[in-house]
């Protein structure tokens, strides 16, 4: 029984056909991971921070801590 002739052509192309879809998928996965791991949480964090941010309360807390130069704590 003679051996089957091995595939001798198109080996690199076959490798590329195998690896390129994986490459593109991994690249898109990396982008999506960054988008949903960093970008969206950051946008949400800023939205949450400012949603209930009380300018006056925060300012008064900083003022009483004595960090400002332009306005001293209310006791002084």
């Amino acid at each position: 029984m003679s051996l089957q002739k091995p595939v001798m052509r198109g080996l690199l192309a076959k490798r590329l056909r195998f690896h390129l879809p994986i490459a593109f998928s991994l690249a898109i996965a990396a982008a999506l991971a960054f988008k949903f791991g960093v970008t969206e949480p950051r946008k949400k964090a800023y939205a949450e921070f400012y949603k209930n941010y009380d300018n006056v309360k925060e300012f008064n807390a900083m003022r009483e801590a004595g960090v400002f130069e332009g306005v001293r704590p209310s006791g002084e």
Partner: protein, 230 residues
């Protein structure tokens, strides 16, 4: 201010800086996409002995690797131009402050209604009080009102300097003989630090910028006080 081992931007304290943060995230995402693709392709190419010596051309791949980068560039350019135009919008400032760079300190002039000004020197390390930041704190801060558009006119007295406050997304060169303008709105009260960003001599690292944002009512009290003391 930045904290030790910080890699990313400081928290944004102005709307423009928030937009810049989101744009940076968007662009960095694209960078990771391209880098992952290229790295994988490199790994795939160096881990094989297979070659094809007879490729001469390929219209298909040429089209792909022309159109794909063009599309990516458009995806970067559109938000970039949007922010660029956002930063240049006519903003009708409520206050104008002049910042002058000297060797090696900043001076600020408030000349809108009354005329007063002061110098802003870095607090030397040996004179720091507990709670002050080394190489960042100054004796007199630039005080401005929160949530009001502020215009800063920047120039220099001697050599090039640059007035920068990263958390507000501002950096503008101070050029002798030239008046550069920038504008910003501070979203929340606080103290925001920056450092001179153009080499200007021996003490270039020791002329920081400190912006203190307080509510308008307190800002008006402060400016009245400054006027009385000047």
């Amino acid at each position: 201010m930045a904290h030790p081992s910080q890699l990313g931007f400081q928290d944004a304290a102005s709307p423009v800086m928030e937009e810049l943060l989101h744009f940076h995230d968007h662009t960095l995402m694209i960078v990771f996409l391209i880098s992952t693709l290229v790295l994988y392709i490199i790994m795939a190419m160096v881990t094989t002995k297979l070659t094809n010596k007879f490729i001469l051309d390929s219209q298909e791949i040429e089209i792909i690797w022309t159109l794909l980068p063009a599309l990516i560039l458009i995806l970067i350019a559109l938000p970039s131009l949007r922010i660029l135009y956002l930063m240049d919008e006519v903003n009708d400032p409520h206050l104008t402050v002049k910042a002058l760079g000297h060797q090696w300190y900043w001076s600020y002039e408030y000349t809108d209604y009354n005329n007063f000004g002061f110098d802003s020197y870095m607090v030397p390390t040996q004179d720091l009080t507990p709670g002050q930041f080394r190489l960042l704190d100054v004796d007199h801060r630039m005080v401005i009102p929160t949530e009001s558009p502020v215009r800063v006119l920047i120039t220099a007295d001697d050599v090039l300097h640059s007035w920068a406050v990263p958390s507000l997304g501002i950096k503008m060169d101070a050029v002798p003989g030239r008046l550069n303008q920038t504008a910003f709105i501070v979203s929340r009260p606080g103290i925001y630090y920056g450092q001179c960003s153009e080499i200007c001599g021996a003490n270039h690292s020791f002329m920081p910028v400190v912006v203190e944002a307080i509510p308008l009512k307190h800002f008006e009290n402060w400016s009245t006080l400054m006027l009385e003391n000047s």
